[in-house]
């Protein structure tokens, strides 16, 4: 099935490439992982892949070099991009906030059955010894030098996938493969982790975040990987004037950093999970934003990255709302 989808992807990209500036997609670099590629040359199309190992959200590359050219040339050709369900929401959010135009992108949408989190795989097998990995009928089959391991896909899916409501791209020009049915349809199932933490007493919540954020090394990968952290090199966590943060590595500094990331994403975060995926210290960074997403949904009935015309709720107001 994956094979057919991959062929379809190659064929569609081959047809489209002459009209494109470049194609952004994934390529396999390791049995369990992929790396983003930027394709301009038809020869390289065969390296494109899709499927459960394509964990990176490529939408952020649209606002970073080499895809970014500011101001865009009027005759610029569109950029082709592969998106999973969650990635497509980031793309919509970028369109909403006018960082890119709809015409600028040619979207190859890929319905997604969930992505594999290599950290969870490490609970089952020693990563260093993995020779090959494949997913068949929702079972992850891993070969190492001696054995074949079979792990239920559910066990190793990324945390964000477990409550995913939009596995099918919400926006696309071409759809690769068949649509899948969402794992979750309502707030109860998609915010399970938030509710669990919320159910604990206040002191425990503080202790939890103190212990989690204590590990943060302030590498800022979570920020740099976030497709909606559009300030990047101009981020206030690094400016000295105004100086929000010192170079101390205490927990308060780390708390404030994560407050900054969270508040700047309030009403904009689509829950794509990149910030959590990239964290080298395995901190549940997305969970912080999930809470804000839940607040936005409950308070203002808003979810980011679904409607290209909508205005993010904290960038607008409604004089009549007195009940919020």
């Amino acid at each position: 099935m994956l094979e057919t989808d991959r062929n379809q992807l190659h064929k569609c990209v081959e047809e489209a490439l002459p009209e494109l500036d470049m194609m952004i997609g994934w390529t396999r670099c390791d049995p369990l992982q992929t790396t983003p590629v930027f394709i301009r040359d038809a020869k390289s199309i065969s390296s494109l892949t899709l499927g459960p190992f394509c964990s990176q959200n490529l939408a952020g590359y649209l606002v970073k070099p080499p895809a970014l050219d500011a101001p865009p040339k009027p005759d610029a050709k569109p950029i082709g991009i592969c998106v999973k369900g969650c990635d497509s929401r980031s793309l919509v959010a970028l369109i909403q906030e006018k960082f890119i135009t709809r015409q600028r992108v040619r979207i190859f949408g890929i319905p997604c059955g969930g992505t594999v989190d290599w950290r969870k795989v490490a609970r089952h097998v020693e990563l260093g010894s993995v020779k090959s990995a494949d997913v068949q009928d929702r079972v992850l089959v891993i070969e190492d030098s001696t054995t074949t391991h079979r792990i239920a896909l559910e066990e190793v899916l990324s945390r964000k996938c477990l409550g995913c409501r939009h596995p099918n791209p919400v926006i696309s020009d071409v759809l690769i493969g068949a649509e899948v049915s969402p794992r979750s349809t309502g707030m109860e199932t998609s915010y399970r982790d938030v509710d669990e933490l919320d159910a604990k007493p206040l002191e425990e919540r503080l202790a939890f975040w103190q212990s989690e954020l204590d590990r943060c090394i302030r590498c800022y990968a979570c920020r740099n990987a976030c497709p909606l952290c559009v300030c990047q090199d101009r981020c206030i966590v690094e400016t000295r004037e105004p100086r929000w943060l010192t170079q101390h590595v205490g927990v308060p500094e780390k708390f404030l950093f994560h407050f900054i990331h969270a508040m700047h994403l309030a009403g904009r975060c689509t829950g794509c999970g990149e910030c959590e995926r990239v964290c080298p210290m395995d901190i549940p960074v997305t969970l912080i934003k999930e809470k804000l997403n839940k607040i936005m949904e409950e308070m203002l009935g808003y979810s980011a990255g679904l409607d290209p015309e909508a205005v993010p709720p904290l960038l607008t107001f409604n004089p009549g709302e007195t009940e919020i």
Binding site: T35, R215, C219, A221, R223, N224, H248, P280
Partner: protein, 354 residues
């Protein structure tokens, strides 16, 4: 005096506890309640979970080069005569306690060769670093868990390399055989455990021999410097290798040989500290000049610098020494899976074509 001891696996905790009364003891341990979670070096306290079975996520450099360090403290004192006049009082805290790192790996300790060249061997000697370095001993594990990202043998090390180590640890099925390699380490082993029996001793010797023969990694690091110079201006090369880079600092922060730092004054009211903290050449601000000009404006120049520094500038300056110990951490932790071996390995390939 014992020069070799055998620590049975079930006695490890009590031995470490005893050891920690003799000296500040640091071991690799889980940083999260998850056996496959991130690991790093932490000061031993009874009850922590050691992680001797795999390489740590974070390197041990923070022991010698902490992520944050106060170089001096200062205080402005208002002159009672004229309020505009102030004097500065300085306080310069330097202290280092005798420390033992138990359970680092060959690559971890080998990385210090690079740091030593920069901080200890002149012409600019860093007293903070040297203080700690002098006071730290290393008990190094002969590495038995190399994986597909390791390449220590390609950069001058090897799984049994003991350069810079004071004690050697060999992991056996039922425990650990620890041997003092230098005189100053011997007293540490006194009264800790029994000497090993003959069969264990022989087995350990055999494992060491096997490990020292293992070739880990096949990166060719010969003549990287001229190849790098050739590639320096080939933007297409760097674009083809690292366009996906996010410019985050993960690779440099997890790297045991990356030592760049920043110095800032963190003032609060009339008091402050001059801090030295880790910096990363992957950051935009690293080379941002006061004028607003940035000689390394994009990730391509920044990544190029990382490769150049390790495989061209350092070897040219320090008689062929490489600025990389082949631990593979940057490869494992990179969120977009950039592989430094590929970037370095391809330097020489068709470099004149473009």
């Amino acid at each position: 005096m014992a020069v070799k001891i055998f620590i049975a696996a079930d006695r490890l905790d009590s031995v470490l506890e005893k050891l920690s009364t003799k000296i500040d003891l640091w071991i690799p341990a889980l940083l999260k309640d998850d056996k496959s979670g991130p690991t790093g070096f932490v000061q031993y306290t009874p009850g922590i979970t050691p992680a001797f079975d795999r390489q740590t996520t974070m390197p041990l450099k923070k022991l010698l080069l902490p992520q944050e360090e106060t170089l001096l403290r200062f205080k402005y004192q208002k002159d009672p005569e004229g309020s505009l006049k102030t004097t500065i009082a300085l306080d310069d805290p330097k202290e280092a306690r005798p420390t033992l790192v138990f359970g680092a790996r060959s690559c971890d300790v080998r990385a210090l060769v690079t740091l030593d060249r920069v901080f200890a061997n002149g012409p600019y000697v860093d007293p903070y670093y040297v203080q700690r370095r002098k006071n730290t001993l290393f008990a190094t594990l002969v590495c038995g868990q190399t994986d597909s990202k390791c390449f220590c043998s390609s950069v001058g090390g090897g799984p049994a390399d003991m350069e810079g180590s004071h004690l050697r640890i060999v992991r056996l099925e039922d425990g650990y055989l620890v041997e003092a390699l230098s005189k100053d380490a011997q007293p540490l082993l006194a009264d800790l455990a029994e000497a090993p029996d003959k069969s264990r001793d022989q087995l350990a010797a055999k494992l060491v021999k096997e490990a020292s023969k293992r070739q880990v990694g096949d990166l060719d690091t010969k003549d990287c410097a001229p190849a790098f110079r050739n590639r320096f201006q080939q933007n297409d090369y760097w674009a083809s290798m690292v366009s996906q880079c996010l410019s985050c600092g993960v690779c440099t922060y997890v790297c045991p040989t990356c030592y760049c730092f920043s110095i800032t004054d963190e003032t609060r009211n009339l008091e402050g500290e001059r801090l030295r903290s880790w910096d990363s050449c992957m950051f935009y601000h690293y080379t941002l000049e006061a004028s607003g000009h940035n000689p390394r404006p994009t990730k391509l120049e920044r990544y190029r610098n990382r490769v150049g520094h390790k495989f061209s500038y350092i070897p040219e300056r320090y008689e062929g020494l490489l600025g990389c110990c082949g631990c593979g951490r940057c490869i494992r932790s990179c969120p977009v899976n950039i592989d430094i071996r590929q970037v370095v390995g391809n330097l020489k390939e068709n470099s004149n074509e473009q």
